[in-house]
Structures are given as C-alpha cells and as structure tokens.
C-alpha cells in the first residue's frame, strides 16, 4: 500500500470528521499522522481552531420572549385560517342562495291576460247548476249539489273558499250591487245539526237551506239586501224552509 503524501493528508485533515472518511482513507491518514509530526501538528491546530470557532458560534443569546411570540403568531395564523374557512363557506352559501333566488326570479312567468278574460268567460258561461257541479267534479274531484233555484245568469264566481278553516264550495251571485254567497257545507266537515238562519248584522243575513234529496249537505247563504228573491230564477223558485231549523239526522246521512 502506497503511503499518503502530506498534500493529500492536509486535504483529508480539513474534512476528517468522525464518520466522514472511508475506513481505508481513515486508516491511511492515521498512519501518516503517526509518522509525520508536521501534519500531526497541523491536524491538532485544525481541531483546536474548529473547536474554538464552534464555541463562538454557539454563544447565541436567545431572546427570552421568543417562544411566547412564536406561539402567539401560530395562534393568530390558525385563527386567520378558520376565519378564511368560514368566509369561504359563507360565500358558497351566499352563491347558492343567490343562484336559487335567481332561478326563482328568472323562472317567473308572465301573466297571460288573454287567458284571464277567457277564464272569466268560461266561468260566466257556466250558467247552470249542472255546469257548476260538473266544474267542481273536474277541477277538484268533488261532488256537490248546486242550488237549482238560483239565477245562474247572476253567477260571477265559483270555487272553493275558506269557511271557518275548511275549504267548501262557494257560489257568488251579484245583482244591482247586492250579493249572495252560497256555501255548500258537508256533514263530513261540520256538525250540521240544528243550524238556524239568522238575521245577521251589518246589512247581511244568513239563511240556511237543506239540499234537496241530500241530507248530508246544507246551503249556508250569506246575502245582502232585504231578501234572496232578486237572486232567484222565478221559473225554478223553490220555497225556502228558512223559518225552521235545518236538522240533519245522522241516521238518514
């Protein structure tokens, strides 16, 4: 094995930290240092200088408040991240709500005014009790018995209406500024026993009539004016039984 030269040894001495040299090189260097006093002194000097400089490097005064400030800043960063997340979620929700609102707004349909006239025409020409019954059957699937003695030329509206919390068929007749509303009440919705006509108040009267051939229903007629006569078709007038209580017997229902 060839002995190591001083030039080579000095280079290796510069970098000869424990574990940094290959075992073969380390062995050759050790052998050279054992034989060369000059390189041995150089190696010793390098080690002392390294130790001296290393000690100087490690004399660093760490600020006493640094640890606290680091934790404080980390906490602020976490809070900012949470805030950004919340803002992001809120922005997404807002975008979704806006999109939903826009879809509703843009999805609005234009009112068809010509249809309005047509529907009113159809309503007005349902000028018979049979046509009204047919209309309720088709529109709502409800079977009603419309009053036969009313003048259906005076009919201005028919539909379900709210009657004390229940949806009941209602017919509106108008003549010369007076009106008569006929509510068709069913035994299924109300207790119809012992209903009476009343004189009412505020210019209105209430008349209760039984439905011919149908003891399960009654007509409750709210009207203005002195009597129902103006609303009736004289040719079909049926005497009312408004002077008597309308009784609906459960056994005949």
């Amino acid at each position: 094995m060839q002995a190591m030269k001083c030039d080579t040894a000095r280079v290796l001495i510069e970098f000869s930290r424990p574990g940094e040299l290959e075992s073969g090189e380390a062995g050759l260097l050790d052998a050279h240092l054992a034989a060369c006093a000059h390189c041995r002194n150089f190696a010793d000097q390098q080690r002392r200088m390294d130790t001296h400089v290393r000690e100087a490097f490690r004399k660093v005064a760490v600020p006493p408040q640094l640890r606290r400030e680091i934790f404080s800043r980390l906490g602020r960063q976490r809070r900012r991240a949470r805030t950004r997340l919340l803002i992001g979620v809120a922005a997404c929700l807002l975008a979704l709500l806006t999109a939903w609102g826009l879809s509703i707004y843009l999805g609005r349909s234009k009112p068809d005014l010509s249809r309005l006239v047509h529907d009113r025409y159809v309503e007005k020409t349902a000028s018979s009790a049979e046509k009204v019954e047919n209309w309720f059957a088709i529109r709502y699937g409800r079977t009603i018995t419309a009053p036969r003695d009313f003048d259906y030329n005076l009919l201005v509206h028919r539909d379900l209406a709210d009657f004390q919390g229940k949806q009941v068929p209602m017919l509106l007749f108008v003549r010369a500024g007076e009106e008569a509303r006929v509510y068709v009440l069913s035994r299924n919705q109300f207790d119809l026993a012992d209903l009476h006509s009343t004189s009412g108040s505020l210019g209105y009267k209430v008349e209760v009539r039984r439905v011919p051939d149908n003891l399960r229903c009654v007509y409750v007629i709210l009207y203005s004016g002195s009597s129902l006569k103006p609303f009736l078709d004289e040719r079909k007038h049926i005497p009312s039984s408004d002077s008597a209580a309308v009784s609906v017997s459960p056994s005949t229902g």
Binding site: F15, G19, K59, L66, R67, E69, L74
Partner: protein, 176 residues
C-alpha cells in the same frame, strides 16, 4: 421508539427547536430582530406544511430547510453589500495567532455577513449544528464536493478574519 403520534404537533417542534432555529437565523441574518422574525415565519410555514413531515426524526433538517428557504425569499431582491468576492476567499492561512484569541461575537457576525449566502450556510451548519457534509449537501441541494469546496473557503475566510495573527493585531488597534 420516537415521538408518539399524539405529540407530533407544531407546539412540540417549537419547544424542541426554537432556540436552535433562532441561532441559525441569527448567523444567517446577522440581526437579532430579523432572526426573530425569520424564526417565527419558519414555524408558521411549518404549521401549514406539518402534513409533509413524514419522518419525525428528520424534523430538525426539515425546519432548517424551511427557515433557509424563507431567508432566501427575503434576500432575493436585496443587494448584499460588503460581501467579499468569491475570488478573494483565501485558502486557510498558516499564520494563526497562538494562543487562539477570544472571538468577539460582533467580529464573528461581521465575518459571516461578508460571506455570500452559498458559503455562509454550510459554515453555519458545520459549526453551529455539526451537520454532516451529506446533510449539508441535502439541505442545500448541491453535490457533496461542492459543499466541501465552499466549506473550505468559508472556513479559511473565518480563520483569517478571526484567528490570524495579522487580524488579531489589527483588531487590537495596532497599525500595520
């Protein structure tokens, strides 16, 4: 063996390494205030990237890498004055004062700041943290031969500035 999963938090990293990281930052920047700021920023970045630290035993070089990158980002557009030319970095001088003079911290700081960062970092890692040449090479993403060359020149510069007989007499105020 090793840190339990439940303790692998950024708080644990701070407790274990904040002093070391500050020392590294101080030698890099030469300024206590910049070093404080850089250390805080490094831990903030570590908090964001904690999921990337797969091997907890490599936390120290990982943190040092984060801090160095943060430092490089800061100095990217700065002109560093008073840095010596690479050509002027001398080979190790033989005229070392004996006994070895006390090294003034301010003198050390100035000598380090005279070095370009590419030379300053390896000598800091070598002396301050006893990083191996391999670790320094990985940290800086350069070949080991490059590390050794830069280290030799940087050590020579420090020795000339801090330990040479001529500089010791000059630092003592004697005219040469």
């Amino acid at each position: 063996m090793g840190v339990p999963q439940s303790l692998r938090t950024v708080e644990k990293l701070v407790d274990d390494y904040y002093a070391l990281l500050y020392g590294f930052a101080f030698h890099l920047t030469g300024s206590p205030s910049e070093a404080e700021d850089l250390t805080q920023e490094a831990f903030c970045r570590a908090q964001l990237k904690l999921g990337q630290l797969r091997d907890w035993n490599r936390a120290k070089p990982w943190l040092f890498s984060i801090l160095r990158n943060a430092y490089l980002h800061h100095i990217r557009d700065e002109k560093r004055l008073h840095q010596v030319s690479l050509d002027n970095l001398s080979e190790p001088s033989e005229s070392i004062a004996e006994p070895l003079p006390e090294i003034d911290p301010e003198q050390l700081r100035q000598a380090l700041q005279e070095l370009p960062e590419a030379y300053r970092t390896p000598v800091i890692l070598y002396y301050f943290e006893d990083f191996s040449y391999r670790d320094i090479a990985e940290e800086m993403n350069v070949p080991m031969g490059t590390v050794m060359s830069r280290l030799a020149r940087a050590k020579g510069h420090l020795r000339q500035r801090l330990l040479s007989g001529r500089n010791v007499r000059q630092n003592a105020g004697d005219e040469v």
